[in-house]
């Protein structure tokens, strides 16, 4: 068949269908025709065979009766030439063969007679070996008396004839079909040529070539289609050119905005890094390249960790899961610079947003860091340097005041006016020195505090706590002062408040600050403390009825060194750092602090703290903090009954220092109590660490003696708890223990048991009382590797001698009397017992300085 280029799918399918239908028809037609012919032929053969058999039987009966075999043979030989006759044979009445036409022999199956009709012509279909399928016609001679004539007609011939007819019919039909196909082909080509042209034209349109023309101008449907397509092409062409213009315009705009953006990005002083979800770099601005010395390197497409330090790579990964949140970190830059990186994920704006990557901004904060460090160093240095002389100034001022009161003034002549005036003036002046020195100390502490917080160096001991508890505790603390001033404090605390997460000491500090502010600016009235829930936060409010704050000044009160009022005319009361510290603490707890005020009516300070979300309401989160649970209220309250408060000198001019004795051994406790009471101290005894904590925070003793081996809470833990509480952290702790490893307990001074009474009292006096510190001090060790404790300078202000360990005995034999301080690590090298037995020599082992609480 001719290769039909225009033979499209439809035509091909139609052709195949027609071909199949034709095949079926052809087969059926030729089959039917051949079958009918075959049937007819069978009839024909039958009648032919019958005619032959009858003609032999009837025609030659006389010959047959004469038994002239040659004539019979000659007769039947004639019939053998007739088409379809395969054999003829004649048998006599005894079935004996008379003549036959078989070559080379009569087939076996025809050797024997078979039952057939004696008198009638019979037809049967048989299969004969070496001949095949045969229709045998038998005719009787003289009603069977003369024998029978058998004529075999070849059925195989009929079959061959059938197939021949079939084949010929097929051939004819095939030729007809071929002619039809050729005609069809030309017709199809005539139809499909314009169709092909149309489809080519459509393809051209699809490639946006509108220049083509269609040459079909027939009046039929195809012509109509062609015209329609051409019109469509014109429309499309116009549409496309319009679109092109719009696109060009839009592209220009996009390009402009892009160049703006890239200029912005390129000129950004901060480094910019954009990565995709897998952490591959997609954008990098020049500043970023400069930060990491990547100029001229094409990094896009590679993982960020190949080019950037691990900190930044971690940031890239960390920002991904943060939904909308940003992550910041300090990262090292090249040339020993430091940068602050801020990573935020890019979110697809649609709902169920998908993270596209991360944007990281890096700012070079080397300079700022340096400045900050400089400032912090400056402040701490200055404060430290200020504090040391201030301690001396204050200490001596107090000593001078005492000496004067005790030793000088009684001996003066009271009668002399001038003297009296001088005495009064001196007393006043010294009082002023002391109070100013104290104020300065507070100021320095505050400054140090805020500096620490601002520089992030402050230590936070966060845990779950109850705001109600904080407020109650604070209120209790100021109750005494209030009473003195004649003020009342009321607390309104909502029930079942959720817990908050924070540093209890610091929060107490906030509340105390606010309370003391209120007390400070009030002469009479009621202070109301409210704690309630406000949404997801706990709102704490402290309202006073003081002078109030002017509206203009409200925003300034939380700034450093700002105090309301005229600082020139009025004497400032406080450092002016209280509220900034409060703000720092509250802000650090993710809370807010603000004030409302009406002048003359009073002010209200509010601060909020977020409700602890991730913890159970009961707040027990063991292991959350490495600290032991220091303030277990229930436990402490349950034991309160056994705490003893012993007032020794109720009516004394001066309230005697309170000593808290902590020991589990009742006899030893009793002994110590007696010992201290005879010396004139007030004494409290606690049985274990927990009780000690409770009592310490309640009574704020001036000194604590602490045993280390105790049930429930041992001494070490108790000391750490005490040190973690801002109200008790300043209390000196004297460790009285049998243990030798007193290092790292956190106590100020440690004494080994058995305790020498003189020794103990002397030490206690040193730690508590500021008079008669006339003894010399020897510090074993080099000055350089010894860090001074504040307390040491206080009780040995002038005569501190440093000596190496091997010279200590020389000093003792020369008649040294006084304190020998030694670091615990040297304790093993010296004969402590020998030293202790020397009269007038006190050995103090200094524990390892705990820098946390310095």
């Amino acid at each position: 068949m001719v290769t039909m280029r225009p033979m499209t799918g439809i035509f091909k399918r139609t052709f195949i269908l027609v071909f199949c239908v034709f095949c079926v028809i052809a087969v059926l037609t030729s089959g039917m025709a051949a079958y009918f012919l075959y049937k007819r032929m069978v009839e024909e053969f039958r009648s032919k065979g019958v005619a032959i058999a009858v003609s032999i039987a009837e025609g030659g009966w006389d010959v047959l009766l004469h038994r002239d075999a040659a004539t019979v043979q000659s007769t039947i030989d004639n019939f053998l030439d007739i088409e379809g006759v395969v054999y003829v044979y004649v048998v006599d009445a005894r079935q004996d063969i008379l003549a036959h036409t078989f070559v080379p022999a009569r087939p076996e199956s025809l050797q024997h007679g078979y039952p057939h009709s004696e008198y009638d012509i019979s037809v049967r279909n048989i299969t004969v070996e070496s001949i095949g399928s045969v229709m045998e016609i038998s005719a009787p001679i003289l009603e069977g008396a003369g024998g029978h004539v058998h004529v075999g007609m070849d059925r195989g011939l009929l079959n061959a004839y059938f197939w021949k007819v079939f084949r010929n019919m097929q051939l004819v039909l095939g030729v007809v079909f071929a002619v039809c196909v050729v005609l069809l082909y030309f017709m199809v080509r005539k139809i499909s040529r314009p169709l092909t042209e149309l489809s080519d034209y459509a393809a051209q349109l699809a490639q946006r070539d509108f220049s083509g023309e269609i040459s079909i101008d027939s009046k039929d449907e195809l012509g109509l289609l062609a015209r329609t397509m051409q019109n469509m092409a014109h429309e499309l062409s116009a549409l496309f050119s319009e679109m092109h213009e719009e696109v060009a315009e839009a592209t220009k705009e996009v390009r402009t905005s892009l160049s703006y953006q890239s200029a912005i990005i390129d000129n950004l002083a901060d480094g910019l890094l954009v990565t995709d979800r897998d952490g591959r770099i997609t954008l990098l601005n020049p500043a970023m390249r400069e930060f990491y010395a990547l100029q001229g390197i094409d990094c896009t497409g590679t993982k960020a960790k190949h080019y950037f330090p691990a900190e930044l790579a971690r940031l890239v990964a960390a920002a991904q899961p943060q939904e909308g949140g940003t992550v910041t970190a300090e990262v090292p830059l090249s040339d020993n610079r430091t940068g602050k990186a801020l990573a935020s994920p890019i979110w697809l704006e649609e709902a169920n947003g998908q993270c596209l990557g991360t944007v990281i901004l890096v700012r070079d904060i080397t300079h700022e860091k340096a400045l900050d460090r400089l400032k912090t160093d400056f402040i701490s240095t200055v404060s430290h340097e200020l504090r040391t002389p201030m301690t001396s100034v204050l200490g001596f001022a107090k000593i001078i005041h005492k000496k004067l009161e005790r030793d000088v003034f009684p001996h003066l002549d009271r009668g002399d006016d001038k003297t009296v005036r001088a005495v009064t003036q001196v007393e006043d002046n010294i009082g002023i020195i002391v109070s100013e020195a104290e104020r300065l100390t507070v100021l320095i502490n505050d400054v140090l505090d805020i500096a620490k917080m601002e520089s992030g160096k402050a230590q936070w001991r966060d845990k779950l706590l109850s705001m109600a508890d904080v407020v109650e505790h604070s209120v209790r603390s100021v109750q005494g002062v209030c009473r003195e001033k004649g003020l009342r404090i009321e607390t309104e605390i909502e029930k079942n408040l959720p817990m908050v997460f924070g540093d209890r000491g610091r929060l107490v500090q906030v509340v105390l600050n606010l309370l003391s502010n209120a007390i400070k600016f009030m002469d009479e009235g009621v202070i109301v403390c409210r704690v309630r829930r406000h949404g997801d936060t706990i709102l704490t409010s402290i309202a006073d009825q003081g002078v109030g704050i002017l509206a203009d000044e409200l925003p300034l009160i939380f700034e450093k060194f700002k105090q309301v009022g005229d600082t020139l005319t009025e004497k400032p009361k406080g450092t002016g750092l209280g509220l900034p510290i409060c703000k720092q603490i509250v802000t650090r707890h993710k809370g807010e602090i603000w004030a409302e005020s009406i002048v003359g009516m009073g002010s209200t300070f509010h601060f909020t703290l977020p409700v602890a979300r991730d913890f159970k309401a009961d707040g027990s989160a063991p292991g959350e903090n490495e600290d032991i649970f220091c303030w277990d209220e229930d436990d402490a309250l349950g034991q309160e009954g056994s705490a003893m408060l012993v007032e020794s000198m109720d009516t004394g001019q001066e309230i005697q220092p309170l000593i808290l004795v902590v020991d589990d051994d009742p006899s030893l406790g009793k002994y110590l109590k007696q010992l201290f009471r005879e010396e004139g101290f007030r004494v409290l005894v606690a049985r274990n660490g927990r009780q000690a904590l409770k009592m310490a925070s309640k009574h704020l003793p001036n000194l604590i003696t602490m045993d280390l081996m105790m049930p429930e809470m041992d001494g070490k833990t108790a000391i750490r708890c005490l040190r973690s509480n801002p109200f008790t952290r300043h209390i000196p702790i004297l460790v009285v223990t049998a243990l030798s490893d007193t290092e790292e307990t956190g106590g100020n001074v440690a004494l080994l048991k058995p305790v020498d009474a003189d020794h103990l009292l002397e030490t206690a006096n040193i730690l508590l009382r500021d008079h008669d510190v006339s003894r010399s001090c020897i510090v074993v060790g080099e000055r350089a590797d010894f860090e001074f404790d504040d307390g040491l300078t206080v009780f040995c202000p002038s005569r501190i001698t440093f000596c190496p360990p091997h010279e200590i005995w020389d000093h003792v034999q020369e008649g040294f009397k006084g304190f020998v301080f030694m670091p615990h690590e040297l304790a093993d090298e010296l004969d402590l017992a020998g030293l202790s037995r020397q009269s007038g020599v006190q050995v103090l082992i200094l524990p390892e300085a705990s820098t946390d609480y310095k």
Binding site: H66, R67, D68, A69, A70, T71, V72, Q73, S74, D77, A99, H100, T101, F102, V103, P104, A105
Partner: protein, 413 residues
């Protein structure tokens, strides 16, 4: 092929008629019509029969003929095909110059043309001495129109079966040409066997027209399966020679008998040739029945004249036939033709002497005519067959020799 043969025969006839016409034109010649196989596998029979007859007629004609009238044969070729024989016969019967029909060859051809003799076309023309021992022409309704010289096949077979029976060979099978000739001999054998209360132990046929090249292995196999003690082969000399060759090749050693009709010399020639090519002797144990005596028998005047005439004036095959045919010097067929011619000449002389007497009466009046052989020939109203004697020959040293009665013993079991 058949069509082609017919066409060739027609052409030959046309030519021969054209050639003979001037000679037959002279009313003095006595023309005998002859239709025989001058082409095809059996042409040896027709040609030899013609040559034998012509040997004597030429001798007669040379010596003045029958009162000056010369005897001629109008020879037509039927290629041993019955249909062609019928056509030839019709043509001869219509020809007024043809005096009678003479020297036909073949049973099937004769059997088919016989009815013509009883038609108007025959105009009383008689049919003389066909080379066949078949029964039809010896029976009603043809007996009055036909005169035979040779003994019938039944007689040949009876004699043969008698001899086989005498030497103890009673299991006899037959290989025959499946046509009237074969059927006739088959019938003869059966009848002969029946006289000995025997029947054929096996039979196989072949189709007329088979040549020496054809394989007869199938027929040999069919017959050999019956383990016969003697085989009778009935057919043309080429088919019989092929059968003998294949039988001997298959290891069948029993005697194989052939009929006079087989054309012994032609058969022997083929077998010798085939045997020499494969270095085998196919000529052993062959028996031929003859209806004429041995032509080499010097005691017989006819044989002496025959051999002299054949050597002296070897007759030619009929015009335009025999191209590429190598004639035999002597032979039983040509001797039979010679004897036919001798008897025919005698009849013609008698008829010439009494022209008013119908020919049939003339012939029926022949009594004890001595043709120069060991027996005399007599005809009568009830006797239309001149000879009844059967002779046997065999092959010795590639030559055909008579079998003396005592020599049968060599095949006894």
């Amino acid at each position: 092929m058949r069509i082609f043969l017919r066409f060739a025969a027609f052409c030959a006839l046309a030519c021969s008629v054209a050639v003979l016409a001037p000679r037959t034109g002279t009313a003095r010649d006595i023309v005998l019509g002859m239709s025989a196989a001058f082409t095809g596998p059996s042409r040896g029979l027709g040609l030899e029969l013609y040559r034998g007859a012509m040997a004597y007629f030429d001798f007669v004609n040379r010596n003045g003929g029958i009162d000056g009238r010369k005897i001629r044969i109008l020879a037509l070729d039927d290629a041993y095909e019955p249909a062609q024989a019928v056509k030839n016969t019709l043509r001869l019967l219509k020809n007024k110059d043809v005096f009678c029909l003479f020297n036909y060859v073949g049973t099937s051809t004769v059997t088919r043309m016989l009815p013509l003799l009883n038609t108007e076309q025959a105009r009383g023309k008689l049919f003389f001495f066909p080379l066949t021992g078949a029964q039809p022409q010896r029976k009603y309704p043809y007996t009055s129109k036909v005169f035979n010289l040779r003994a019938s096949y039944r007689q040949e077979m009876q004699a043969l079966v008698n001899e086989f029976s005498l030497v103890g060979r009673r299991r006899i099978a037959i290989f025959f040409q499946n046509d009237a000739y074969g059927r006739c001999v088959w019938d003869g054998v059966r009848r002969a066997l029946r006289t000995h209360r025997l029947d054929l132990v096996g039979e196989a046929t072949y189709r007329r027209g088979a040549t020496f090249e054809a394989s007869m292995a199938e027929q040999v196999d069919i017959i050999a399966r019956q383990q016969p003690e003697a085989i009778i082969a009935v057919g043309s000399y080429e088919a019989c020679a092929a059968f003998i060759r294949d039988a001997r090749n298959a290891g069948v050693r029993v005697p194989i008998a052939n009929l006079s009709f087989s054309g012994n010399e032609s058969l022997l020639k083929l077998l010798i040739k085939a045997g020499s090519s494969v270095d085998k002797d196919y000529t052993r144990d062959l028996i031929f029945t003859q209806v004429v005596p041995d032509y080499m028998d010097r005691t017989l005047p006819a044989a002496r004249l025959y051999t002299r005439l054949m050597i002296k004036n070897p007759p030619k095959p009929p015009d335009s036939f025999g191209a590429g045919y190598e004639p035999f010097e002597f032979g039983f067929v040509s001797f039979e033709g010679y004897l036919n011619a001798v008897v025919m000449t005698h009849i013609l002389r008698l008829h010439h002497a009494r022209p008013e007497t119908p020919l049939a009466e003339v012939v029926e009046g022949v009594r004890d005519f001595d043709a120069g052989i060991d027996v005399t020939i007599s005809f009568g109203p009830e006797r239309h067959q001149g000879l009844n004697r059967v002779y046997f020959t065999t092959v010795v040293d590639d030559g055909i020799v008579p079998i003396e009665p005592e020599e049968w013993r060599r095949w006894s079991r």
